[in-house]
């Protein structure tokens, strides 16, 4: 046997080690940019695009998000603020589109998602921190100003009559903004990216030789994930009672209000919805949270191309039959 033949096996083994090692080397990193926008922390992550292009794409995504924020945040000076102040008027194409989506989801969910909850949000004022909950009388008074079916939108003329209600788009505008950011990234040539607005995600493509890995937050243990998944391209949006809440006399008061009772919804700890678009996932995650696990899962199963996972108030985890298909669990 020649010297070369004798060393063929060890040499082949060395080659294999080098090949595996190079494949596993951390090497390229995604480009990540983080900013505070839309009253939350927004991170845009792009993979596999040369740095200047990735940075440019991220800038376009942030510009798209900022544009939505400047128009639809319920803070003084924005067009939405002016619309609420005036009780109606002509709106931009973007605002008309989000209002149309919001009213459509309000209709489809029987009012479990309702964009006219602004008076209730103001009354409960969860971000202010621990304080006594409002009186039943005050809740009833605020509830009398809530009702999506009083809003009249003419999509052609882009005119709105709020019918003496006030609109808050917090349950849907973030999703709409995420979709616009994803569009901007694609238009800039990026195909592998994550848009993460406060834990509401749009996931596209892969991270190199593996899929993107997303941890779904455990609603009662900040240090645990309920599940780690590799979602299909689309949106993964979570609503939970642990995101903005305070405790008063042993009870948790959180920011997801039931438009039918005027009080924090009590049926779930968290709801995660996968949908092709973030605007739909956003509205649906809120609606399912409000409806509770039984009715909420029925609603999800009635929506084509949408799946979800629900953690009920007692901690029981339930999901639609197709959730594991659109968001398969990752073990590594």
């Amino acid at each position: 046997m020649t010297r070369l033949a004798r060393w063929a096996v060890p040499l082949a083994a060395v080659a294999l080690v080098m090949a595996y090692a190079s494949g596993r080397r951390p090497g390229a990193e995604p480009f990540t940019e983080t900013r505070f926008l839309m009253d939350t922390l927004v991170t845009v992550t792009v993979w596999g695009t040369p740095e200047p292009d990735a940075r440019a794409a991220e800038e376009r995504a942030f510009a798209a998000l900022a544009a939505v924020d400047q128009e639809m945040a319920r803070v003084e000076g924005t067009p939405l603020w002016e619309l609420n102040r005036a009780g109606g008027g002509r709106v931009s194409e973007a605002l008309a589109s989000v209002l149309a989506d919001a009213l459509a989801w309000a209709r489809r969910t029987g009012g479990a998602f309702d964009p006219t909850v602004a008076p209730l949000l103001d009354l409960w004022d969860i971000p202010r921190g621990p304080h006594p909950p409002p009186s039943p009388l005050a809740v009833d008074a605020a509830l009398s100003q809530v009702g999506w079916d009083r809003v009249r939108l003419d999509p052609g003329r882009r005119t709105v009559d709020l019918g003496r209600t006030r609109v808050d788009l917090g349950g849907i505008a973030k999703g709409w903004a995420i979709d616009r950011a994803a569009e901007a990234l694609r238009a800039a040539g990026a195909s592998d990216f994550i848009v993460n607005a406060g834990g509401d995600l749009y996931v596209a493509g892969r991270r190199g030789d593996r899929p993107w890995r997303v941890g779904i937050q455990h609603p009662r243990n900040q240090n645990r994930f309920l599940r780690v998944v590799a979602p299909m391209e689309g949106a993964l949006v979570t609503s939970g009672d642990y995101e903005r809440f305070y405790e008063w006399e042993g009870r948790r008061f959180h920011h997801i209000l039931d438009p039918r009772t005027g009080r924090p919804a009590r049926g779930c700890q968290s709801v995660t919805v996968w949908a092709p678009t973030a605007v739909d996932a956003d509205a649906l995650s809120t609606a399912v949270f409000v409806l509770g696990p039984e009715e909420g899962l029925r609603l999800l199963e009635a929506q084509p191309g949408v799946e979800g996972l629900v953690v009920a108030a007692d901690g029981t985890v339930r999901e639609t039959p197709g959730f594991a298909r659109v968001a398969p669990e990752v073990r590594w």
Partner: protein, 121 residues
């Protein structure tokens, strides 16, 4: 002079060692400890190494205090009413985030191969 034996015990040892290395290289990786922490505020982002100690970050409501240890980092104190950032506790794995929204301060654990690429919450 070249040995006439085709495959000696030493060759077998070398092959076994290399195959062992292959297995290690092939085995699925486990997430490691953070290699740094990104602190984002209204002033922008900066990255600090593990063990940086106490860091005070100004925000619109006041000062958020962060402790960056060798193995984890956490928000110690903040001026926010809900104090959810403090409740988040220690970030010991890459990909974990603690955020104080009212004071516009975020702490993220960084690493080359995080447990996850994003957290849905």
């Amino acid at each position: 002079m070249v040995s006439r034996r085709a495959f000696t015990p030493w060759d077998a040892l070398v092959v076994a060692a290399l195959l062992g290395l292959n297995l290690i290289a092939w085995a699925p990786g486990r997430p490691g400890r953070p290699t740094g922490y990104r602190i984002t505020s209204q002033a922008g982002s900066r990255t600090v190494p593990p063990g940086s100690g106490r860091i005070e970050v100004p925000g619109p409501l006041g000062t958020t205090v962060i402790e960056v240890g060798k193995r984890s980092a956490w928000i110690v104190e903040g001026p926010c009413p809900l104090r959810l950032c403090v409740r988040t506790g220690a970030l010991a794995r890459p990909g974990r985030v603690a955020v104080c929204l009212p004071n516009r301060v975020a702490l993220e654990a960084l690493g080359p191969e995080g447990e996850v690429d994003a957290v849905g919450r």
